[in-house]
């Protein structure tokens, strides 16, 4: 019997950045990089562990926008092109560095890595990584949960409950389409909770959600076990919260593992280092100096300038990853030893991370996670990997309490998504939701072109609601892109509202929108219906 439980939750999300109107876009590249460096390597490692009989259990939160990009035909084709181009570069790098004792092994490492991932994507995934996730879930290694449909920042949208409802319901619908069954839990976008959201979650059959540490710590009444046991809201939805200590060891750029001097340096990339003539055709878009993903140096030192970095030594980095996995496990063992004694029952430690940390920013991250799962399975008995759903199934009585409104953003509340740089957005989003609720209610039994226009209006509004746009506006990188995206979806939405209201739909234009902003093919605009006019209807039972 373990003394305590550890739940590693990987949250994978990217906004919907599909741009068929451009041959190349930097934003689509976010997605390709994350696929190649994070999602596919992680899936591959999980499958390998499964095949080797390692007993592990992880929680994977995947946003519907990301799932939709993985499923999309155009992005699948373009991802293959991106991957092929990198494979070509890696092969050429192997030739270029041949005979160089330091760099030839590194070039080979990348070439092998890209070739393996490409083969995995084509042969094993059949270009559909969601299939692997589904298998891993069915085989009991992963619990896949969802988040809001376009990662909408719910505390600033739930002024109209219909918006929060549509965000969550559309997400459950799409998840169920892909995964074959509805999710048990939800990762609230940005871990952002506001009082009353649990009504929507309960209504949609979700059993639990996650908050940041203080969301649960500041719950009322005071949670007896702090963040080391879930609480349950008045209407019966369980709330788990991140353990700050555990997070910091992995997250923190300075104190955390990813800052180790032997780990790979992210900012030293051959896309910037090598001669323009040599590299220009391999850049994305071609000709524009940017990262390729091939990086030959290590962090080297706390203040080491980029031109003083030392070459990467994979063998030492691997040892470091193993050492850090051991250290992480040891600390959790000590933590549960102490906590279980104080609590008188097994604690659960929730360790949530952005998936994009693993492999992209922290090159050795997937390896670290691999070592960690293996060590927990083989080298100790104090802690057990579980998912939040598993913990609920154990049947511990839970304290009834209401979490505090909160998020995991800077300062812990809603300011990142509501400040002088992005507050212009909310009057448009709220007005849009009012119009959408009105139209969805008035036209509930419509069909044909009108139904298509209403569905597209729902898509445009959902896309405008992404938490990513106000976030990017605040942090100030690519802020023009974020402003344009929010603006464009709202403009398209408004034009659709005008046409729906006048009954005069420009079908050719609608078709273009449907081809570009094309996510969630089975979206039902009626999710936005005014809530008084609808009733909850029981349609399924969760057998877990």
């Amino acid at each position: 019997m373990p003394q305590g439980f550890l739940s590693i939750v990987l949250h994978a999300h990217l906004p919907y950045v599909r741009h068929p109107e451009h041959e190349y876009s930097l934003e689509e590249k976010w997605y390709y990089e994350a696929m190649l460096e994070c999602y596919l390597p992680l899936l591959r490692r999980m499958e390998n562990m499964k095949n080797e009989g390692i007993n592990f259990r992880l929680t994977f939160s995947i946003s519907p926008t990301l799932l939709a990009m993985m499923e999309d035909n155009l992005l699948r084709d373009r991802f293959k092109r991106y991957m092929q181009n990198l494979q070509n570069l890696a092969h050429r790098e192997e030739e270029r560095t041949a005979g160089d004792a330091t760099f030839a092994p590194l070039a080979r490492l990348y070439r092998e890595h890209f070739d393996q991932i490409a083969e995995y994507y084509h042969q094993r995934c059949g270009e559909r990584p969601s299939r692997i996730l589904k298998e891993l879930q069915n085989d009991g290694f992963v619990e896949v949960i969802t988040t809001a449909a376009t990662h909408g920042y719910l505390p600033l949208l739930d002024i109209q409950k219909e918006s929060a409802y549509a965000q969550v319901a559309a997400s459950i619908e799409y998840y169920t389409d892909i995964m074959g069954e509805p999710p048990r839990g939800i990762w609230l976008p940005e871990c952002a909770y506001n009082y009353g959201l649990e009504e929507v979650l309960e209504e949609l059959g979700l059993q639990y959600f996650l908050t940041d540490t203080h969301g649960l710590l500041y719950a009322a009444p005071r949670p007896k076990y702090g963040v080391f046991s879930p609480i349950v809201t008045n209407n019966g939805v369980a709330v788990f919260a991140r353990d700050a200590e555990t997070s910091k060891q992995v997250w923190s750029a300075k104190e955390g593992y990813p800052g180790d001097f032997y780990y790979r340096e992210f900012y030293r990339d051959i896309g910037h280092d090598l001669s323009y003539d040599y590299i220009k055709d391999y850049l994305h878009p071609p000709g524009l100096r940017s990262d390729t993903g091939i990086k030959y140096y290590r962090i080297s030192g706390a203040e080491a300038p980029l031109d003083h970095k030392q070459p990467y030594i994979p063998e030492i980095a691997r040892e470091k990853a193993a050492e850090h996995a051991g250290n992480f496990m040891f600390n959790r063992e000590k933590q549960v030893e102490y906590l279980s004694e104080v609590m008188g029952r097994p604690p659960i430690i929730i360790a949530p991370y952005d998936t994009e940390l693993f492999g992209h920013w922290w090159f050795e991250g997937p390896l670290w996670l691999d070592y960690l799962c293996r060590k927990i399975d083989k080298d100790q008995e104090n802690i057990k990997l579980v998912t939040p759903g598993d913990y609920l199934d154990m049947g511990y009585p839970l304290q009834v309490s209401t979490p505090s409104s909160s998020s995991w953003g800077d300062k812990g509340y809603h300011e990142v998504w509501l400040n002088g740089k992005n507050d212009w957005l909310y009057p448009h989003l709220h007005r849009g939701a009012r119009d959408m609720i009105h139209l969805a209610t008035e036209h509930s039994d419509t069909e044909g072109v009108m139904e298509r226009a209403l569905t597209q209006a729902a898509r445009e509004l959902l896309l405008a609601q992404s938490s990513d746009w106000p976030f990017i506006m605040t942090v100030g990188t690519m802020d023009e892109y974020a402003e344009n995206r929010a603006h464009d979806h709202l403009v398209r939405f408004r034009r659709l509202v005008e046409q729906i209201s006048s009954g005069n739909i420009d079908v050719q234009w609608l078709e273009k929108l449907e081809n570009v902003d094309n996510l969630y093919p089975h979206l039902d605009f009626r999710l936005f219906q005014k809530q008084e006019t609808t009733v909850p209807v029981e349609v399924a039972t969760i057998e877990k």
Partner: protein
């Protein structure tokens, strides 16, 4: 497979309207100490106000937000309020309330030079987040029966009606013009 369609074409030459010609006041929570309010007064309402009031009354009046704090844990029961004067061109404002875990709502209106506040719009109510560990230590434990939790969905079943299941939802409310005008006839407090 590049789609031959430009951003301009997709936006159909449209741009976002600066105003929607409606009367609206919305309150949002920023953190335990600050709220954010935004508002719009339609030109029709402004026109009506100008006509209703004497010119000098109008010229000497000041736009103002009145922030109401409700009694702790008692949404709807007003404990106290304070006023914030606004510049005439402002369309939104950050309001320092300094009190975590309280319900607030605001009213937007004009202060005439008789010192009285004439409220035009009333906002939704929000509750500020908490900033510390709760002092309430009542413990209530439960054993939720996860296995038999039902999945409820409205999806595709929107025509079915069952009044006993219909719930009341606190909605973002915008008062109709007539209500506003009736309200404007007398001071709020």
């Amino acid at each position: 497979m590049e789609l031959q369609v430009s951003r301009e074409e997709l936006n159909a030459g449209g741009s976002l309207p600066p105003f929607y010609e409606e009367d609206v006041l919305v309150l949002l929570p920023r953190d335990p100490y600050w709220l954010h309010a935004y508002w719009e007064i339609s030109s029709a309402t402004l026109q009506w106000l100008v006509e209703e009031w004497k010119r000098e009354e109008w010229d000497s009046s000041v736009r103002q937000i009145r922030v109401y704090r409700h009694l702790w844990e008692k949404e709807g029961e007003i404990e106290t309020f304070f006023d914030v004067e606004l510049p005439p061109t402002a369309g939104n404002w950050y309001l320092e309330v300094s009190q975590p875990d309280y319900y607030y709502h605001v009213e937007f209106g004009w202060k005439k030079n008789d010192g009285k506040f004439y409220s035009l719009l009333s906002s939704n109510t929000v509750r500020t987040p908490r900033d510390r560990i709760s002092s309430i230590i009542d413990e209530n434990w439960t054993l939720p029966d996860w296995k038999f939790r039902r999945l409820y969905r409205r999806i595709s079943l929107f025509n079915i009606s069952s009044p006993e299941l219909i719930r009341e939802h606190p909605h973002f409310s915008r008062r109709k013009n007539q209500d506003l005008r009736n309200k404007m006839k007398g001071p709020a407090v």
